[in-house]
Symmetry: C2
Subunit: 135 residues, 2 copies
DNA sequence: ATAAATAGGACTAAAAAGGTCGTATATATA
DNA sequence: TATATATACGACCTTTTTAGTCCTATTTAT
C-alpha cells in the first residue's frame, strides 16, 4: 500500500544513471537494464514515456540512446511520476483524482477533504525533490 | 498508485463516525455500513483489526458495538494505518519495508536511500495527523 | 545492405485489493 | 433458557492493477 510502481522505480534509476554519465554521452536502454538487472522491455517503455514528456531526449538508430533534456536540478520528481503514471493516477483516494461518480460513496464520504490536505503535503514533497537530489 | 486502501478509507470513515457519536454510545458495524453504503463484511473486519490494536473497544452480543478506546486527538492516522495494513506494508518501495532479499535489484538499486528520506517525510505527516482533525 | 538502436501496440502472467461466505462466540432480554 | 443480535475470524473467490513479454515497425551509422 502507498507504493510507487516499479515503472517509477526503474525510471528514477535510469534517470540517475543518465544524469551521472560523463560528458552527456548517450546511454542505451540495454546498458541500463543490464547494469541494474531490470526488464529491458519494461524499462524501454518507461524511457519512451519520459521521452514523450520531454524529460529525456532520444536518438534512434545505431549509436542511439538517451540523454537528459535538461539539468538534473530542473527535473522534479513529480515531473517523472506524472510522465510515467499520468497525473490523475497519483492520489491517496480515487475520488480526488477522478470524477465523483467514480466513487460510489462520494456523497456520504466524510474524509475526502481532510485527506485532500494530506495529499497536498505529499504532492509538495514530490514537487520539491529533483533528480539532482537522488544522484 | 500511491493509493491508500479501501480498508483504510472505511476505517477512517468509521472512526470519524464513532468519534462524532454523542455520549459515547456504541455504534454497530451495520449502522456504519448502511449509512455510508459500504460492504458490511469488509467493514466488520476492519473494525475487528482496530479492536485488536486497541484503537476501539468492542462489545459483543445484543446491544453490542464499538466505542473509541481513547480520545480522537490521541489516535494518530499512522496508528490506524498500521493497525489495518501492518506497519511493514506501508512504504514507497518494497525494499524499505521488507528484507533486502525481497528486492531482486537491492544491491544495484541506487535510489533506495534518497527515497527513504521522502518516506520519512510522509511518515511524519501520518504521525502528525489525528482523528480529531478529520472530524 | 545491415546491424543496432528506439517506438509502440497487443497480449499474458502475477500480485494485490476488494469482497463474500460460513461458522463460532458472546450477551441482553423476552 | 431460547432467541435474536451482535462481534470474531478464517477460508475462499473475484476483480483490478501492476509487471512483464512478444511482435513488428522505424530510424540511422557504418
Amino acid at each position: 500500500m502507498l507504493h510507487l510502481s516499479k515503472k517509477i522505480e526503474y525510471g528514477l534509476i535510469a534517470l540517475r544513471h543518465i544524469a551521472s554519465e560523463v560528458n552527456g554521452c548517450v546511454v542505451t536502454a540495454k546498458e541500463i537494464s543490464d547494469k541494474y538487472h531490470i526488464s529491458y522491455e519494461l524499462l524501454a517503455k518507461v524511457l519512451q514515456k519520459l521521452t514523450r514528456e520531454g524529460i529525456i531526449i532520444s536518438y534512434q538508430g545505431v549509436k542511439g540512446g538517451y540523454i537528459l533534456a535538461r539539468k538534473p536540478d530542473q527535473i522534479k520528481l513529480s515531473d517523472v511520476i506524472y510522465a510515467i503514471e499520468g497525473k490523475s493516477n497519483i492520489s491517496l483516494m480515487n475520488c480526488e483524482a477522478e470524477k465523483p461518480e467514480m466513487c460510489n460513496i462520494f456523497s456520504t464520504c466524510t474524509i475526502k477533504y481532510p485527506l485532500a490536505k494530506i495529499q497536498d503535503i505529499i504532492n509538495n514533497v514530490f514537487n520539491d525533490v529533483t533528480i539532482s537530489e537522488i544522484v
